[in-house]
């Protein structure tokens, strides 16, 4: 029987995976806005494919953070103070991005929309990079002292291996977004998104596969090698199904890619939650950083009822808005003059 602290490590990994899978594609849509959206109507098609769902997707990040706070306070405290500046950049970008979606159409002026498009684009490039960097940091470690505090400068989380983590999530989000657009739009945009997805996929997933390989080489266990093999296989399936025009299956295969990568990363991290690069005795571990058994029991009950409900009603949202959107569905701009 798994102990509760380990269970919560798995739940938190699942929240991060859910976040990467869900907001991955809506980041991708925002990143590709200037690439695939040739005029305002096309850009509106793109934004509206994620319009009803992006906010719900973002909550996965908040819940991942909240669950870390409740289940592993020392992990939450050590990691987020350790990656202060990258996390700040993520927060600033997410602030702008959220407001941009809501405000973009509220004044009928090309300049107004162009400016918000820029905010959406920056707001979609920065967070996946930052989140990838933060996750790579928690797997690869920080120079922690015995109190679990970061030693060294504000930039000690910026290393080539953590930057690779940033690129990994950026690359995945790009492909995921292109495939999502191919799945959710119709007409010319769909073809363009598919073609771009096919062209990008092999190169864009290289950093992700590279990161998993690196982590496996440094910290991996025997079983974490299995998803390591599964990830490129799933990526090949995704490419093949996309080439065949089966966008839904390609999208699901990309889900398998990120799930396999997350398995390797978090599997290799366990039983640490945040290794110290200075002295392994100072590493934060699942057992050492966790909350008391009572607290873990409480949040386990909450998650046991709450999390399945989330899956049901978020799934229902995707069902309600399952229709493909194309330029002919977009109403005329409607804003007060």
């Amino acid at each position: 029987m798994m102990d509760l602290a380990t269970l919560w490590f798995c739940i938190i990994a699942a929240f991060w995976l859910g976040y990467l899978f869900l907001e991955g594609f809506d980041f991708g849509v925002g990143m590709l806005l200037p690439v695939l959206g040739r005029d305002d109507t096309e850009r509106r098609v793109m934004i509206n494919t994620i319009g009803p769902v992006w906010d719900g997707n973002e909550v996965w990040l908040i819940v991942a953070g909240g669950a870390m706070f409740a289940a592993f306070p020392a992990w939450y405290a050590g990691l987020f103070s350790g990656v202060y500046l990258p996390l700040l950049a993520v927060l600033l970008a997410l602030i702008g991005r959220g407001v941009a979606f809501e405000y973009r159409g509220k004044v009928d002026s090309p300049r107004w929309r162009r400016n918000w498009d820029r905010v959406i684009m920056i707001g979609s490039w920065v967070p996946p990079f930052g989140v990838g960097l933060v996750l790579a940091t928690t797997v690869l470690g920080l120079p922690l002292d015995a109190d679990g505090d970061r030693l060294g400068s504000a930039f000690s989380a910026l290393r080539w291996d953590t930057l690779l983590g940033g690129l990994a999530v950026v690359g995945f989000s790009l492909v995921h977004g292109a495939v999502f657009l191919a799945l959710k739009t119709d007409g010319e945009l769909r073809h363009r998104a598919r073609a771009l997805g096919l062209r990008m996929l092999p190169a864009a997933l290289v950093p992700l596969l590279g990161l998993t390989l690196l982590v496996q080489a440094r910290e991996g266990a025997l079983w974490t090698a299995v998803p390591l093999v599964a990830a490129p296989a799933a990526a090949a399936v995704a490419w093949w199904r996309l080439a065949e025009g089966r966008e839904g299956q390609a999208f699901a295969a990309l889900g398998a890619v990120i799930a396999a990568a997350a398995l390797t990363l978090f599997g290799a991290l366990y039983p640490d939650v945040l290794p110290s690069t200075l002295d392994t005795a100072d590493s934060l571990t699942v057992a050492g950083a966790s909350s008391s058994p009572y607290t873990l029991q409480v949040i386990t009950w909450v998650a046991a009822f709450g999390a399945p409900a989330v899956l049901v009603y978020q799934g229902w949202t995707y069902w309600v808005f399952r229709r493909r959107i194309s330029t002919r569905h977009i109403p005329k701009a409607h804003a007060p003059r």
Binding site: N48, G51, P52, V53, D55, G56, E58, V59, V63, G65, G66, A67, F69, A70, A71, F72, P73, A74, Y76, A77, F80, S81, Y84, L85, L88, L91, I95, G96, G98, V99, E102, Y103, K106, V107, D149, R150, S153, A154, S291, S292, Y294, T295, V298, I299, V302, A303, V310, Y313, T317, V320, R322, R323, R328, H329, I330, P331, K332, H334, P336, R337
Partner: protein
């Protein structure tokens, strides 16, 4: 400046700012859900137009509340990591619950509501409005449970140098929280009420000659806002009185500093206004206008109770919680220094009075609005719409002042000791900050403040535009003639492949 000071400014700015959006969101969400219910039940077009208009203003504000809330979830770990480690076992649980139970519901059903007008059956769509609006209330409850634990820690034991939770029930039914919830929710409704009254009064006045077809919309909104504001104030008074009595038992120093009460009094009088500087705890140069024995009543429901003054309390606190900070290098220049147990008195004294005064002004505007609209009347005067517009600010000011009072009034503690609680469960604010560099906190303080200020300007700009645009600017454009099939009931999405979306970003 040191990290501690910067971190406090940053938390104060981001949180007070976040709480400008939040009360409007909470109050207006529920009121809009109510308007939509009225429309679904009666079929009266007026209620639909109210729902659409106020719903649009709600969305402009909602977005800002959501994005500024993300910072709240992470800044404890970023800037207050020592605090997070110390309290995480208790404090993290209500935060995680808020995310899992409330925030997911809020954001998912908000998306369904915005985009679902033509995709969902009418009643299901209405249910979405109730889901997200009640989720905002649930959010408030969990956050207040977490905050109340900092004011009055319960449900814990002290093991291995930190509090560990032994009863989630005690944390969630903390009497401090049970009093704070109605007070805060009523404060939120006061904000939404003043918003309705101010904007509706201005629209009525503006359309007085042009034969604005939406006058019934504005009049109903004005009445709804005025009723809500008066009712909210009644709840604020009752719950505030409960809070006062709890504060007397749980945080006597906060009580004394709300009054700048230097010497113990029996019976204690309530200070209405002070002339002079309340900064020093010696009370020498201050003249204050007082109501005899009223403070005793606020504290303990009678006119005799002794209320302790700051001087006596400082001695008691030093005896119980120490006279000097530990000589710990993590405390920076405060290490080994004497602990100052007196909160910033001008802030607590005036914050308390601004809260009460502006709250009362806001309610008075509501009463006036009810009087001017009695028996079908419509206010004709020129001064009323101006007054009503200006008083939109009053409940915002009252809310901010109240929170600044209650958070600064518990200094120097971040977790206030519970006088009847477990020994060891308290924390000084100075011990709570991260070991990050001052440069990092400067970076976030400056960038967040700048972005918040810029977005605040944009939000107000958009709100003004939509208010000027009136109802027509938010109603979906009428379909061209000849195309006149019934669009009111939703259809199966698969059948409507060529339909233009009812709403798109």
């Amino acid at each position: 400046m040191e990290v501690l000071e910067l971190a406090r400014w940053q938390f104060g700015i981001t949180t007070v700012y976040h709480f400008l959006m939040v009360p409007l969101t909470i109050g207006l969400s529920v009121l809009v859900a109510g308007m939509q219910t009225a429309w679904v039940r009666t079929g009266n077009e007026r209620y639909l137009r109210m729902t659409k208009f106020w719903g649009k203003l709600l969305l402009v504000n909602f977005a800002m509340g959501v994005v500024t809330g993300i910072v709240q979830e992470f800044q404890f770990g970023m800037t207050w990591s020592a605090y997070s480690r110390f309290v995480g076992d208790v404090f993290g649980a209500p935060l995680a619950m808020e995310g899992l139970v409330a925030f997911f519901v809020e954001s998912t059903f908000l998306g369904l509501w915005i985009f679902g007008w033509d995709r969902l059956p009418k009643r299901v769509h209405l249910a979405c409005a109730w889901a997200f609006s009640l989720a905002t209330v649930a959010s408030a409850y969990f956050i207040l449970a977490a905050n109340s634990w900092m004011q009055h820690p319960v449900g814990v034991e002290f093991t291995d140098g930190r509090p560990t939770m032994n009863s989630i029930w005690a944390v969630l039914t903390n009497n401090t929280a049970l009093a704070a919830v109605p007070h805060t929710i009523a404060g939120a409704f006061a904000v939404a009420a003043a918003f309705l009254v101010g904007i509706a009064a201005w629209r009525l006045w503006r359309g007085r000659h042009s034969g604005d077809g939406d006058r019934p919309v504005w009049r109903s909104s004005l009445r709804l806002g005025a009723f809500t504001g008066v009712a909210a104030f009644a709840v604020l008074v009752v719950s505030g009185d409960m809070q006062g009595k709890l504060m007397f038992e749980q945080q006597p120093m906060k009580m004394a500093s709300a009054e700048a009460l230097c010497h113990t009094e029996q019976p204690a009088s309530f200070s209405i206004l002070a002339i002079g500087d309340v900064r020093n705890a010696d009370c020498e140069n201050v003249k204050t206008f007082t109501v005899p024995a009223l403070l005793s009543f606020l504290a303990h429901n009678d006119f005799q109770t002794e209320v302790k003054g700051i001087e006596d309390l400082v001695g008691e606190y030093q005896e119980r919680y120490g006279s000097h900070y530990p000589d710990d290098p993590a405390l920076g220049e405060l290490a080994g220094k004497p602990i100052d147990y007196v909160p910033n008195l001008p802030v607590t004294y005036w914050g308390f009075r601004i809260m009460i005064g502006f709250g009362a002004l806001s309610a008075a505007t509501g009463v006036l609005a009810l009087w001017l609209t009695r028996q079908g009347r419509i206010p004709e005067s020129r001064w009323f719409p101006r007054l009503a517009l200006a008083s939109i600010a009053t409940p915002f000011v009252a809310n901010s002042a109240g929170w600044i009072f209650t958070e600064m009034g518990r200094q120097p503690f971040v977790v206030v000791p519970n006088p009847t609680g477990v020994d060891g469960v308290w924390m000084f604010t100075a011990q709570a900050v991260s070991t990050v560099s001052a440069g990092e906190v400067w970076a976030s303080l400056i960038s967040l403040t700048a972005v918040y200020a810029a977005l605040g300007v944009v939000e107000v700009f958009l709100l003004v535009r939509y208010v000027r645009g009136g109802v027509d600017a938010v109603m979906p454009p009428k379909p061209p003639p000849g195309d006149g099939d019934d669009t009111e009931n939703s259809r199966d999405p698969d059948d409507s492949g060529d339909d233009v979306l009812a709403f798109a970003y």
